[in-house]
């Protein structure tokens, strides 16, 4: 009887520590969909680049239109992914009775945005200098750093996704010219894999919870 009380105490402490400092309603499905969008975007970009001999080296000028098109694709993919993540995560947060907009999510946003915005501005500066070759490593590495930075405030899987993105980014810095391939792998395949892991973890915890009830 008393043993039970103390056990309850401990589990309540753990629960409150988690709930007050971590946002756990991130949706795995939104990760999978973000990966799918990225693969479709990479496919369109590939078709755009296919007929160009400048595929490997876009250093020569006169490619402003092409660069603009590629940027448009990247921005569309990012926007779609963000909107999907927002909608699905909101749905899950309501289901879990977790607050979507509180101290934890606010500080999550700050922790996520600082490396990401730094990388974004850095990338734009490089674009301005026509260093197209290292755009893929820069975006992958800074995105990975942003994920690792935010991971202590949310699910642990996010940390492993971040570390993987950093590794892929570093590799793509070695193989300059294959940026699109690494981009598709980092933003497409990795999102699908880790989103899938999160999705199945959600399902298994949901099952054990319903069994307990």
């Amino acid at each position: 009887m008393t043993d039970n009380k103390y056990l309850n105490d401990l589990s309540e402490i753990k629960d409150l520590m988690n709930r007050s400092s971590r946002f756990l309603s991130l949706s795995g499905m939104s990760g999978i969909l973000a990966g799918v969008y990225a693969l479709i975007g990479a496919d369109i970009a590939y078709l755009l680049l296919k007929n160009k001999t400048v595929y490997i080296r876009m250093q020569s000028s006169g490619n402003a239109e092409l660069v603009l098109k590629l940027m448009l694709i990247a921005i569309t993919v990012a926007l779609l992914a963000i909107i999907t993540a927002y909608i699905l995560t909101r749905k899950k947060a309501i289901k879990n009775k977790e607050n979507m907009w509180d101290q934890t999510t606010k500080s999550m946003l700050v922790h996520f945005m600082i490396p990401l915005v730094t990388g974004g501005i850095f990338g734009l500066i490089l674009l301005n200098h026509e260093h197209y070759g290292i755009m893929a490593p820069i975006t992958l590495i800074f995105y990975g750093l942003a994920l690792v930075n935010v991971s202590k405030l949310t699910l642990d899987t996010v940390k492993y996704l971040g570390i993987s993105e950093i590794i892929v980014g570093l590799f793509s810095a070695i193989y300059v010219g294959y940026g699109l391939f690494f981009w598709a792998f980092g933003f497409g395949i990795l999102h699908i894999v880790y989103g899938g892991i999160m999705y199945f973890k959600e399902k298994s915890t949901a099952n054990t919870q319903s069994r307990q009830e």
Binding site: E12, L16, M17, S21, N99, Q103
Partner: protein, 117 residues
């Protein structure tokens, strides 16, 4: 004769165990022996500061209930109240004190030992 030996040895091992548990229970802190106070401490241990409304949200208690538990923890010197002005509006934050951190850790250790014993 035999029976009595068995029973005394049983008795002594039992009383040892009771002594042991009593020893652990000494470390169970009465100040934390309530759901709400335990909750307040848990939240403040992992967050630098928390506002009143944030605590209320997480714990799901009424204003008056929360205020009285905060007051009792403050009396023990386990939490600090930080009053400040943000954009000319009064804002109250709560944080755990050094003593509170130590006391809560002891309490947690005692809880864990009790469950293991």
């Amino acid at each position: 004769m035999r029976f009595s030996i068995v029973s005394t040895s049983l008795n002594s091992s039992l009383s040892n165990k009771v002594k042991n548990i009593k020893n652990i229970i000494q470390h169970i802190n009465k100040a934390f022996d309530h759901r709400v106070r335990l909750g307040i401490m848990s939240i403040l241990m992992v967050n630098d500061t928390a506002e009143f409304t944030r605590l209320k949200e997480l714990l799901g208690v009424t204003d008056g209930n929360l205020a009285s538990h905060i007051k009792s923890l403050e009396k023990e010197g386990y939490i600090m109240i930080i009053k400040q002005f943000i954009n000319n509006k009064p804002n109250t934050q709560y944080a755990v004190s050094k003593e509170g951190k130590i006391a809560f850790k002891k309490h947690l250790d005692a809880l864990e030992k009790l469950i293991k014993s």
